[in-house]
Subunit: 346 residues, 4 copies
């Protein structure tokens, strides 16, 4: 059994990691850190976990952590992650970092969108943890930058079309809608039930959301010349789920069957990507609680555009589940271990 | 007091018409028809209306109806409306029709998207009931085609930019999200609480929703050459509200202030359009229960696109409220009569 | 026009007062105070109010307030209210206090459940603002203690039966469920969307909620000997609404028609109490946004108990609406002024 | 591997059975019947199941069914079940019936609350499938009557106190609140999103819900003289979850620690019952998607009553999960097999 620790266990990503890991056949959860809840049982912070774990939240030094576990999930805010990860690696540990700190390979881009980077040397080493694109590199990596939730949903939908060079990449517009767990567990007025329920809105409109450069980085790996895309996030009155609706100009000769073939070619063997039949469109409620990414599309012959739709559970495939998938790859476990539960419906 | 009847009172548009009209200072609600609930008090069908109306649902002939009222709201499905409206007009009555039957001025387009039209001669006479565009014609009309909910939200957002000729109309993409009341009150599995709650999906993707030609008709009134646009509807787990996020390529020399000016010029005097301050974006929860349309926008200088956002309550400004606004204009009442309530928040 | 001020305008009760008052035919809203949002337009804090009010939130002294208005709604936490109200009264103003500070007539009871009272002399003068019980006294009062939301729903349901002496008052159990707006607008983890949505729980179980003595005070006005009742509040994943389900042992000879008669006798003329027909039960969605209290009941002949059900909108009849109803009475306005809107459904 | 069939797979209990069984280590799902969806893949009816099962819904005769599987879950309406079950048993199969048809041991009581019983001889043999009460009998049974959702939540909360004889059983009042999945997947207006969302109501008030005799049957097994209890169901705007709040008069000498001891004695070893610490109360969101029943209580010393609270997921411990737990016992599998997933939060 692998000893595993969650650094930053008191957020929604933390509790979801704990949920998955407490039933994972290959690991033992040996530490969960939280400054705010230090001394409290994790199952007191999250009563859903009663009888599933008796871990107590602790405020541990890196040294103490290294004595406790061999594999780490860092589920802390960006900037905090870059302060912790180097020491873990130096101690010979493997890390999946769920923050944004190691996702952007170009330090200049990182510093433009976030702030100064104090561990920039690790950017070249870190592997972007999207198994559908980087599976082999993930297997041999010691530091995985777990993708953002929006980028996961958007990149998986676009990759086959970009690879197949069937769309005009400059025309890409991603209109994404996320459940409120994406806003985290911080006590703020904007996340209160009465502010969110029975409502809907966009936020960080106009290319200002920090997932924009992350999406562009991965899109541009498929392109001879880099493009910029439009990305608009919205806040849904649901707890879990992201649906991205993505528009692009399709090359005129491309037919429905061609697109299906591109998807099949890239994802037919993927354990967590489901390509929907014609005229079936993804819905967040059909991936709820699972590591699946559901993909569907429709060609609008009136306008020459293709509309892609992608649904994930933002805290599973968009965070904790994908992190465990990465751990499985890094440690030689079955890739789907701990992630085999079917979605919850209703 | 004007005697008013609602034909088709048992749907969500019907109950909203009744809610508004029972407090309207100039009208008396004298009939409400429903085949399904004939004989039941309207306040039995909708207990929210108890003590607000003692109308009983009836299954009336057109003759009987004409004896009851001088103004009619037809809140019935398309095709049914065209069977009723001609007789009402022939009897000298005024009508706001909330179906799609008289919205499309070109009968060929109507028949392409719906079915054969049996009252095509009225298409030329009917006025598209968007007061912000057609106020004067509405005042003198006897037949108003009340706009669809999605078209209302999209056309109001686009009109100033189209009039100002500052965007490329071929680039328009409208990604719209609607509350579930838009699906009506029919008993169907897809509208059940457990199918919709805690979920989100697109439907009628790829230019197949019947509001598409309606949106295009109005957009094209501003253009020398007709365009086709992309429109994707989505189903939100809320009862009321539409948010449309609209993308278009902005002419490169146009600045934020130019766009603001176009909105101000067109809507500054409008009683039901609110232009939000910079960096404030519409949310459905801020228009809930009101006849307001909230408009906001952001220019994405990275991509040269402008993102417009528009929020309405789909059964008020998107249906019953706009219908009453049209009635007010047709009858010489204060335009805002019965519609002055502020939105409900939370 | 009466000049009216809201002290504590930035909570959910504050915004609801503003919503109602901005359409009230007899008043002008002249001040809204908020420490936290001082300097911001009220319509910036609550964008729902755009174009309905141009008030700016201020942090005003009592002297300044007295120069601004003649009637005050104090929508501040308990303890804060008792610091403000005496000076307003001393300046000759009328006040509806929405806190708990003047609801309990016995200072010892207040101090047992809250803390020391610094204006205990006003307790005798303050009138408990439930118009259905105290209408005449309210008319001539200058200080109204606006009832709590739970007590409003429970007392209105019980009063006719207590007055008629048809139940055993020691057997009363009130199981109440409230929407989340009742928890206020403070940023706290327990009120976050993800903590409340898709869930349900009890809180302050076992006679520990501070509305308990308030309910008992009013129940005991009908009784020769005081009783204690069981009251359990629950948190509903909705924004607005309280439903109370109340159990009591019914005297064996009492029939359904007797109970109906008691309700009719007490409430038939009440503008805001709706007695439902047999086998119709209240639902929060049928009073949403209105000042109605819907009452229904059923006798369980198997157990000899009567089950009463009462539905209100907790921030209308349970707070802001009832406060305005009280103002109407105190100022000689039509009792229903500003409160005539029908409930919103759906 | 045991071959298992679900009869009536197209409801919410059916899909939940499929979700659990498709990951169960000891069984193979070999048939799923549905008249309405015959010929459609189960994963077409419920897209959540894509890639988890390739079963096709069929309309099979009992003979065909018996050739397909050795263990059956009958998830059909009452009355339909009694038509199917006898033939399955006659063919030597084991059955967990999720309808009400075999829950009431007294045929007269069944016929009073339902209709004529055509397989009354099986009532004596059928075991009420609440493992916490009847584990040993379940192990050796071939026909399990899977308990109703409300009864499960109420009986588990009351059993220790009834066994300990510390409450007055005539004083029991159960106020229960259920998620909407309990109303099933039939297309009916009352279950539409817009009718249920943002609302709350009671239904079948006054001892008229058919779960009443089921609850009383099990309560009365602990009592020398039978009692009748009050039970009021309510409809929550959530998909999954039941919370029951139960009131009873506690014998005056009984202390908090005594009650805790009774719970511990009965449930300390139970895999699916979690006794909460003092002043912790159950919430449906903490058992969502799991087979747990969370129990908490509080003594109200002011009134001498004890308030019990019980939370389950109505379609897991209240239906499909408990059915699988029963199958595990009947077949000698680990009792928790397939049911070990932690609850989903948020």
């Amino acid at each position: 059994m692998l000893n595993v620790a969650i650094i930053g266990a008191s957020g929604y990503t933390g509790v979801e990691l704990a949920r998955i890991l407490c039933n994972h056949p290959e690991v033992r959860l040996t530490a969960a850190t939280s400054r705010q809840y230090a001394g409290q049982a994790l199952s007191q912070v999250f009563p859903s976990l009663r009888q599933k774990t008796d871990l107590v939240c602790e405020n541990l030094s890196t040294d103490e952590l290294c004595g406790r576990a061999d594999f780490f999930f860092t589920a802390v805010p960006h900037k905090t992650a870059m302060d912790i990860v180097p020491a873990l690696l130096a101690a010979g540990k493997k890390v999946v970092d769920l923050s944004a700190d190691f996702r952007l390979r170009d330090v200049a881009v990182y510093e433009e969108w976030y702030q100064k980077h104090s561990a920039a040397d690790l950017l070249k080493e870190a592997v972007y943890g999207l198994p559908e694109l980087y599976r082999e590199r993930i297997r041999s990596s010691r530091l995985i930058a777990n993708p953002g939730c929006y980028p996961t949903s958007i990149i998986l939908a676009l990759a086959p079309l970009l690879k197949g060079a069937v769309i005009d990449p400059r025309s890409i517009i991603a209109d994404s809608k996320s459940g409120t767990s994406g806003a985290g567990r911080a006590a703020q007025v904007g996340s209160l039930f009465c502010e969110v329920a029975d409502g809907f809105r966009a936020y960080k409109v106009g290319g200002t959301h920090r997932h924009t450069p992350e999406i562009e980085q991965e899109i541009n790996t498929f392109l001879p010349e880099p493009v910029r895309i439009s990305f608009t996030p919205h806040l849904l009155p649901i707890s879990r789920g992201i649906l991205s609706t993505i528009y692009a100009q399709l090359h005129p000769e491309i037919q429905h069957a061609d697109v299906t073939q591109l998807y099949e070619k890239m994802y037919a063997q993927e354990p967590f990507v489901r390509i929907l039949p014609d005229n079936n469109f993804p819905a967040t409620q059909y991936v709820r609680g699972s590591n699946f990414c559901d993909l569907g599309f429709k060609i609008d012959t009136r306008t020459g555009r293709i509309i892609l739709m992608s649904a994930i559970d933002n805290i599973v495939k968009g965070a904790a589940g994908q992190a465990v998938q990465n751990m499985n790859l890094m440690c030689g476990f079955t890739e789907t271990a701990g992630l085999e539960g079917a979605p919850f419906f209703p």
